[in-house]
Symmetry: C2
Subunit: 381 residues, 2 copies
Amino acid sequence: MLRIPERLLMGPGPSNVDPAVLEALALPTIGHLDPAFLGIMDDVQEMLRQVLNTKNPFTIAVSGTGSAAMEAAVDNLVEPGDRVVVGMNGVFGTRLIDMLSRVGAEVEALEITWGLPIPAEAVEKALKANPTKLVMLVHGETSTGVLQPLEGVGDLCHEHGAMLLIDCVTSLGGVPIHLDDWDIDACYSGTQKCLSIPPGLSPLSFSSAALEKLEGRDTRVSSWYLDMSMIREYWGANRRYHHTAPINMIYSLHEGLRRVLEEGLEERWNRHKHNAEALWVGLEALGWELFVEEKYRLAPLTTVRPPEDVDEKNLRAQLLADYGIEIGGGLGPLAGQVVRVGLMGTSSTPENLLKFLEAVEIITGVTPGLGTDAAEAALAS
Amino acid sequence: MLRIPERLLMGPGPSNVDPAVLEALALPTIGHLDPAFLGIMDDVQEMLRQVLNTKNPFTIAVSGTGSAAMEAAVDNLVEPGDRVVVGMNGVFGTRLIDMLSRVGAEVEALEITWGLPIPAEAVEKALKANPTKLVMLVHGETSTGVLQPLEGVGDLCHEHGAMLLIDCVTSLGGVPIHLDDWDIDACYSGTQKCLSIPPGLSPLSFSSAALEKLEGRDTRVSSWYLDMSMIREYWGANRRYHHTAPINMIYSLHEGLRRVLEEGLEERWNRHKHNAEALWVGLEALGWELFVEEKYRLAPLTTVRPPEDVDEKNLRAQLLADYGIEIGGGLGPLAGQVVRVGLMGTSSTPENLLKFLEAVEIITGVTPGLGTDAAEAALAS
């Protein structure tokens, strides 16, 4: 049997998975058309709606990791020649643009320095400049640790006849998201971040307007595997076979979502915020420079610049080898500049952030307690 | 916690998963760039090569169920305007054509009555008629239970400058497959059939010729999620992040493949054949009509026409409700005509086929022992 080393997952995802969720994952496999399995799918859809704060009937889990649902959103909601405005302030906005170019969209990238959100004014300007079908924004940019403000953006898009699509891979379950109240037309997410479910599935939700766009397409969806006009027949009342669902992954999604709702969304969001704030205080006490201004900071994922005398690559290797702690390196222009520290889902606990800070104190040779004492004080406040 | 009913999976897949494979699935999730996980990926690649009887360095598991690897094969190896010859004698050939039409291929379908394989002569005729880039055949057609003979077809394709791509979703691990000896350029499979691993991953192997085609493309691969020119950088030595791998699914693939190789490929193929033959004898003793001629019959999946007085839909419902046995109904033109009985991987045992035959005897009210006695005699021979 495989031996898996013990890890504290404090990188950009996956986060640590609760034993009960792993237990659900290992329940016996049954058929994808078994009435017992179809009932589990119904439960999953209902719980996904609750977690996303939406009533969208079309709320499902795509049979692939986060990028599969990202591509599903692009492939299904965009046709060749559609003008799409995309926020480009990190790796995932850039990935969206790559996918959009493959379906032949006319892309307008709203580029802004990594570390900042896309200003609503930039979206408005782009919407006024040319008729636009869709605006795409990343809610929680995993490469930069920026939280994109979304309130009012849906209205703005609709005033100009555009739909709003949101990437909430790293935000779902970790920070507030109100799909319906914020008038978001479509969103996708992943399971392995703040939901703390193993990677392999990706939630996807379309409003009625998004479904109308899908139904009114002039062209076929470019992907068969991700063609929601067929997949909705399986998740919907018809139960028409499309592809074999990842049965056991759906079990784990069921148990994971149940646990998220059992904790309570507000409580979960507050826990993420409270622990992240203590981490930030601890890191600043160590003299580390937080990369994102506090008002735009994404609680589940912190990007931070270590002091110049700390080699970030060695630090990460030592954390993993000596403490079993995984954190992430920087991506793209931030490679070698920052590290990314996740406090997502099950991984977001006071013990974990203190353990991490203590390990950093030892590895970097600073006064013991320099970061942990400050973080403990913040946790107690 | 979810309650999953006990099921004997004797349909077209998934098959029953061994407890050790489920145990591996539930090992703690770690990071997709963790050195420990990268080692597991290396092992998986090596074991996949052994199971496929290939030395292809590019042999990986796609992060989605069988149809994802099918689409990956189409998307990566076919460019708009490429002439592709496809065997069309069941649902999965038809699905291939659907996918091919989405990437703009010029498709020539070799249509033949469901229940028969594609004759080599038909392939040859099509190759002679027009310059062809690729021939696609389904090795084990899950909708009909036909095993496509493949020896010599690779040579035939290469003589005419075409590559050969094989769907071995239902055949891999259940019937002989020799990727290199049969000169097959590319193939894809699934995990939930004769490998008895939960659905969610799909093996994919490209020969050097297939990789050359990928490298020499004039157009981009239409899917980002399935773009093997990027994904090979993650599975290969560079380990460049593309998307988060379905970590736990890869654990289960590791344990499942280990068990397949532990049994031995020859032994496993023989087991599938021996049990299938006993099932056929039993079904014929019951007066059921086997749909496929014996020489083309796919051991892991049997299509069979029940007697006229048996309502196949009620039969399947009763088998599931009263005996926990899942079998499949007919697809497409065979809906309502046949049932599909799988003896795949872990599900392929004498006990299971006898249990099924006995349940059928009771439900259809025939003389007890009519089918089971005949099957038992066949098993003993």
